[in-house]
Symmetry: C4
Subunit: 351 residues, 4 copies
């Protein structure tokens, strides 16, 4: 392994360590600001609650996605990825991998991304940083990333904040939209544009739509903060100063609403329960992703990872039941389920 490759591997280890240790990493998102309308008489049998849906043309168990985390030339990366992939298969949910840039330069990292063997029947999503299109990556490299996973789609992640916090970061984000459009025309699998914790603004979504992209993972503020994590690693002040930069996941869903149904949204960033999932779907998300909550179980075993994913599912189904929503479809964009504060109208009415 080259010195540069060793450095990248070390960086990834540091990230995982920082996320596990940072007591603030489970920071409060603003999902709890949205409240839902309880039904005491749901007129439903809980056993009939159905959370199944489709993603990328395949049937899945519920609209949950294992967000991009890791992969690379170290044993624990491969182990984490295997546990995640086996759990994805067992739970019948899609899984995305961490950035595959490393494996393009370092073939020994490839093994950690060969996950189709563990997850033969669920959607897998490859992952490369979009900025790499300005640093030597083109169709060939991207296709290799997809092929290694036998992926059903590829995440191009957009992480300008993370890159400028890193001393060794790639800083040239110029003219990426055109390159993404070109790539889109050549790749056979769909591209999903994705932030990594600061959200996608309406202008970003518009650029994506213009480039022919249909899927967007908002990956908003409220969960893992890369700015904060990079600061841990480098004692870098800039990272701490900017740790709360960006659009929260709920804000982002509301800002993205006008782009429906032309654009399809995955919500991630700070999703910590099936209640959060239900709220994201009500606000317009088709799929909901989580990363940090799965890291501790995935470091341990497939069984623990499955248990965590099943907990999200149990919670989502409980909420569907309490909202009297038998079929998942009836949750999507159903703003009648949002409890509007009667305090406002009481105060208004008397003026």
């Amino acid at each position: 392994m080259s010195a540069e490759q060793q450095q990248i591997t070390q960086r990834k280890q540091d990230h995982i360590q920082a996320i596990l240790e940072d007591p603030l990493i489970e920071r409060r998102s603003d999902f709890e600001q949205i409240r839902l309308m309880h039904r005491a008489l749901p007129e439903l049998d809980f056993a009939k609650i159905d959370s199944r849906c489709e993603f990328l043309g395949q049937a899945i168990a519920f609209p949950f996605l294992i967000s991009s985390m890791t992969g690379g030339a170290a044993d624990n990366f491969a182990t984490i990825n295997r546990h995640l992939a086996e759990a994805a298969e067992a739970c019948q949910v899609p899984m995305a991998v961490g950035s595959q840039r490393t494996m393009i330069h370092n073939p020994s990292a490839e093994a950690s991304f060969r996950l189709r063997q563990y997850a033969p029947s669920v959607p897998l999503i490859a992952n490369v940083g979009a900025v790499q299109l300005n640093y030597g990556f083109g169709y060939d490299e991207i296709q290799r990333a997809v092929d290694c996973l036998e992926a059903d789609a590829i995440y191009l992640h957009l992480n300008p904040l993370q890159e400028i916090i890193q001393p060794e970061g790639d800083h040239n984000f110029a003219r990426l939209a055109d390159k993404i459009a070109d790539l889109k025309n050549r790749l056979t699998v769909p591209i999903i544009l994705k932030e990594v914790g600061a959200g996608l603004s309406p202008s970003d979504i518009q650029l994506g739509l213009d480039a022919g992209i249909e899927w967007f993972d908002l990956a908003g503020r409220g969960g893992t903060s890369w700015s904060r994590i990079e600061a841990h690693r480098s004692q870098n002040n800039l990272g701490l100063t900017l740790q709360d930069w960006g659009l929260s996941t709920t804000e982002n869903l509301m800002l993205a609403h006008p782009f429906l149904p032309q654009a399809q949204f995955i919500a991630s960033g700070g999703v910590r329960s099936g209640i959060d999932m239900a709220k994201a779907i009500i606000l317009g998300a088709k799929m909901v992703g989580a990363a940090a909550p799965l890291l501790p179980p995935a470091m341990h075993s497939t069984a623990q990872t499955i248990a965590k994913i099943e907990q999200f599912k149990q919670e989502l189904q409980a909420v569907q039941f309490l909202l009297a929503i038998e079929k998942l479809d009836d949750l999507h964009c159903n703003s009648d389920l949002i409890l509007q504060s009667p305090w406002h109208s009481m105060l208004r009415q008397r003026g």
Copy 2:
């Protein structure tokens, strides 16, 4: 006693223990967000303040109801219920019992519900979970519950959240509205629909009205949280995740307002003083109930229970006096008594 019956009895003991020990059980409701208009010159004699009213056609001392708590095949359940019933009689207020499902299967539990001997002259309310109509209960079982108490009405409680938190819970809430309507047509005493801590949404109230129900106990969020209590018992994550689910009692009253006067409301859940009672009545409640505040005195003695109920009455009468409301009737739905923040109008006026 069968093993199943022993398990149910143990569960009820655990609930009581959890409610007594949980430091969070006296959580803040949002009653304090409503403020009332003080009168310095009430032009009243405090001695003439009158809080008497009618409930179920009977005269009672003030609009307070001992909410459903317990009953079953254990000595302390019978003792608590006797203390409550004696205090109800002494204070001339109505009393409801906890779920009587247990006594249908286990005759030894019946004694704890035979309270007419202790409370000959006040309304008593029987109690069965509505979901039992999907699990073998019909007119006969319900009538037995009523008869045992010589009850003046029966609560059918709706507790979908509590049931799905319980591993052994009854999960089929389908087609209950029709069965409630049938029951209504056969029973001689009125049915009161009641939640147990998450509130009744407008859709629920509408279903109830369509089934011919006139009385509703909102039993909202803000006091005892069954989701939280079940979590105590079972280390169940789902219960903690959902512990704050539902409509608060004050919100619920505001949402229910449009159904007046066709529907009549009992407000419970987080009522902790006569001030809260006055606010609930101003917001539209005809009766106000409390459970958890009465548990400690009822475990101790009839005298302590009476003292607690008299404290609610003293506080309600103090508030009536300070609002210059001699007769209770003038409190009901009297929104002129609500203090609208002059801050808003000051800020608005200057734009």
Copy 3:
């Protein structure tokens, strides 16, 4: 002294003790929610700032009033009152005494109210509870209270909350408005209606105006809470439950605004600085009173009391200077001095 008189004296001692010891007695009012518009170029000489005004036809140094506190048959009451009266004279501000009911029944209490000798040239205000008009007091008793002080006006305080908290309280507040009107027609000095910490509602002010009263001391919530103090003395739950009952002084000023200029307002309750004074005057008060802040210095010496009063004056003058208001008159009802949050308009404008 009769047993009853001794009890009253002891009660007053207990009150003073409670106010001195209660760490919560300096509770936050909401004066700080009002913000004023700073002037960097006031175009004034601070030495020329003029806070003088008139009260009850007499010139005073600034619109500050020593609110009613004490008096009675004990040495320390007389001492406190002498210190207050000497400081009033030295600072040229008016002073009110505590309730004089005690001296009507107990001549030995009179001496503590004979304050004209210490304060020959400032307005003095007598004080009796209006409710006493239902308990044997009439023109004669009230006139005796006025005469003892050689008072320029008399406070009739309205304290329904305080009376019902006291076990020995006087509870009949019926038909007081008519009796106040009668009294008004016979007395030669003006009557000022006053609460004692819960504020006067618009209905109360209207009743007062109808009875021919022109002056009102709002005495709102935010400072001394009699409900809380009585609770201290009696371990009475009702007092604690109601300790935050009432209209805050600032709210009360805004609610009272429509009655200007027919009614004239004294603001008291939680006034703790000359900044609070300025805000009260801007919101419509003609005079501003404080009690609790003067108790510790008045227990010590005239000099300390003077220092405290001069601090209020220095602060008021600083604020006048920073608002570019040379003459006090230009402060009164000058709502242009209130800083309207530009945050609101910024957010509104972009909607």
Copy 4:
């Protein structure tokens, strides 16, 4: 040195000590209430981000100004000023000095202000309190202050709050506007009107414009509080009571907005990062100043001072990048960059 001069020197030492020690000195401004719109696809190369601009006709590196701090007849004042001046030169940003009143009376203080030698190519700003125009200062004294620095402009600071807190303060702020207008007509360098921590109200700005002034340093509330600092020195209650008086820097920018472009604004007071800088510029500031954050490094060395200034620049450039703003000019008054809370519109839309 005269006794009076020694006293002034001691006062300045005390100020510096108080600012260094006061744990509250880094109090929260309200910059964080403004949120900006993140761009995930900025379509820019971070290396091309350009923060250069002009100030007083000269090119500077970025819109940062070292705010007025010190100078006087003591070695450490001269050292601090030399470090600041050398850093200003190295970073190519303008610098202002503290009040030069002392050097008019005390020639030995002059050396600390002779900074042109250390900062030959950046704008330097002289500084005198405007109130001195009422205490013997005229054209000659002001010109001497300018000449000593070879300044490009002069701050006339307006500090009515600070002066009245100081026992020895100058209290006559009458008719200053006319004297400022006269001075303006005679001086060859521009006058900048500046508060010292309480902001400039619209009326103040209007008076300044009428006097022919174009530049205003708002110096608002949220950072260094002179009222608080003087209180430290003198145990003066007035200072603590008024420590939060004034307009916050962000509020002040919004209130000043209608005066653009006739007036030009420098924002200072509580600016603690390049994020704050960007927000101030978006709200209408042309330049942004900071004082307290530079005091500790300036007491130590030129190198540490440079590092601190470069940190502000790095942060401002990061924010420009994340907002997709290549050139600084596109930041100024660009309210499209402000994130309007989508919460409001969601709640509104459903009413």
